[in-house]
Symmetry: C2
Subunit: 366 residues, 2 copies
């Protein structure tokens, strides 16, 4: 069957690979789920793997199948599956366990090992193909009523995890009821965290460089959040007008913004870093001021990456609530479909060149 | 009675003030404790208040009595006191509640208000006098067997809080068993956090510029921690040899060290900022590298200041264990006593000039 793959280490090696079709029996103990792939989303990670910035093939293979944002239908399930049945819409988690205590207790998103086993990213093939099989443990049901949001399940799980981790860390406070949040960046993670926070009743200001009128700004406003163009109104101005934030999510893709956000956080607040930057830029900061301000205000920063099945389930619950509260808004993130695995070059072209795209994804099957 | 006070806003205004002696009945509902002051410690905060960098007098007064590290004996207790009895050795917490939810639930160290009410620091008189009175709620008993550690109760409460907050935040991990810690700085807070961590069985590396042989380095080694002189062995070298740390406490008093410590933290680790810097120094950091490293490693930073009575009690428990495990070691922090309130100039001179002093304190009464 067809698969979109790269040769890890070789820049721009994306190609169509012919790979064997998996069987449900490939997974032991009757616990396998064979998934017919319907759609797969791509993001900056796929782009960087094709740029050979990271990514490794599974042991024994020369190629790595791309794609970690999956959506499909359970075509066949092993006899000992209990959660998923044939015909269910499903998505799949990305990381597979290593050997640390965090992997053993089902929180492999928190692995303390240096090596990650991630489908479509590192040492495990991804989902940009016709079929895949995996253990039921890593397959998450998508309700029929959310099938129109298909490839958003994985990015949504990352947004859900990031905010959940902040609340978990803040249990240190005994009481924590954030009122005002800033979200830096209005890419998919920025928009999805804006959603998660709005569903908690938090007043959200979403910051981006572009002026109002973009699709992102319309989605922000559709979620009853405030869109702020930093080219017109700098963050400091908003702080002057409304005060510092109780919670800030950095999804800007800029480490300068990530650090500068430290200045906009209020007492007992949490700054979540949810985006990364692959380069080696430096930044000069007001280290004394931030240091004293963060100590006297008991402030907290956390980095968040990946998600386990619990976060996929949280994300799905939030998407369900979103469709009740803001019907049709989140689906607008799904901007750029490409039909058929044969069109992999167009998929990558859109991913690299189409700056207005919020989500590029492939319709693998109808 | 005599008190050591400053005129807030006027640099180097430390002087002897004659103030009224308080009565147990000054506190309503029979809940007062009148404390005869035995000893009071001073630290950088007292120095900076005398430098007029901050500090305000209580409403109606022109002077602020200094001193927030108290040790005394309960001379008289109100009829409705239940925790403290006449003759008990006691210390007192520093911050008094404002109006935020955190103040209302007994965690005024986490107040979300901008104004702090702190005895000896801001808007409330301190303990560098002959007697003080306060509500029993803010008076903490010191066991007789720990009376030789007297003025260390307050700094110990800050060390206990900082480490406790890290563990509380890490409940987000479900399991967290840090193995290796770095402590930056070997002043009193650095030494006391080294102690707290050692009592948890954690391997501790304590970093300071001075070469081995100082009293600090002897105390570190007395706690079975490893003293590292950064003038001989940079932090990066230790990381190369033993790996990154699961927990780092910055008690260096340098915001450069505070930020640079971010690079030495391992996966799922916590960096605690426990010291502050009053200047306005800038610092250039590798923002991209730290950003990606912190996100992929799910790392956490928290600022910690002050302590509530729960932390005083934790600190006292740890000091008791310390005397069982490392008898006589912690008392060596108490380096520089000054006898009598009349000698306030010598107290301030030692605080400012005696660089080798770990703890300057006043013997107010015998």
């Amino acid at each position: 069957m067809k698969a979109i793959a790269v040769y890890p280490g070789k820049p721009n090696s994306v190609h169509l690979e012919d790979i064997p079709r998996p069987k449900v029996a490939d997974i032991p103990d009757g616990k396998g789920v064979l998934v017919r792939v319907l759609k797969v989303g791509v993001d900056a990670t796929d782009r960087e793997i094709n740029d050979a910035l990271y990514g490794n093939a599974p042991p024994g293979d020369k190629y790595l199948v791309l794609g970690h944002e999956s959506f499909g239908v359970a075509e066949e399930v092993g006899p000992n599956c209990r959660r998923v049945k044939q015909g269910d819409f499903v998505t799949a988690t990305v990381r597979r366990p290593g050997g640390s205590i965090y992997d053993l207790i089902g929180t492999n998103d928190m692995t303390s090992e240096e090596t990650y086993y991630e489908r479509g990213i590192n040492l495990r093939h991804g989902y940009l193909t016709e079929y895949f099989v995996d253990e039921e443990e890593y397959i998450v049901r998508v309700p029929k009523g959310l099938s129109h949001l298909h490839v958003l399940m994985e990015p949504m799980s990352c947004a859900a995890k990031a905010v959940y981790q902040a609340y978990e860390a803040q249990r240190r406070m005994k009481v924590w009821r954030p009122q005002r949040a800033f979200v830096m960046g209005v890419g998919q993670i920025g928009l999805l965290t804006t959603l998660v926070l709005r569903l908690k009743g938090i007043e959200v200001f979403s910051f981006a460089r572009s002026k109002r009128g973009t699709l992102s700004s319309q989605i922000v406003e559709g979620l009853e959040a405030k869109y702020v163009s930093t080219s017109e109104t700098p963050v400091e101005q908003v702080v002057k007008e409304v005060g510092k934030a109780d919670l800030i999510v950095d999804a800007s893709g800029s480490s300068h913004v990530a650090f500068d956000s430290m200045k906009a956080l209020g007492h007992n607040g949490v700054l979540i870093w949810a985006s990364i930057t692959g380069a080696d830029r430096k930044h000069e900061i007001s280290s004394d001021k931030i240091n004293i301000d963060w100590v006297l205000g008991n402030k907290l920063l956390l980095g968040s990456v990946n998600a386990n099945r619990e976060h996929f389930e949280m994300g799905i619950k939030d998407l369900a609530l979103a469709e009740m509260m803001y019907p049709g808004v989140i689906g607008r993130i799904l901007t750029n479909p490409v039909d058929g695995l044969d069109n992999y070059r167009e998929l990558m072209r859109l991913l690299v060149e189409e700056k207005s795209a919020l989500k590029v994804y492939m319709n693998v099957a109808g």
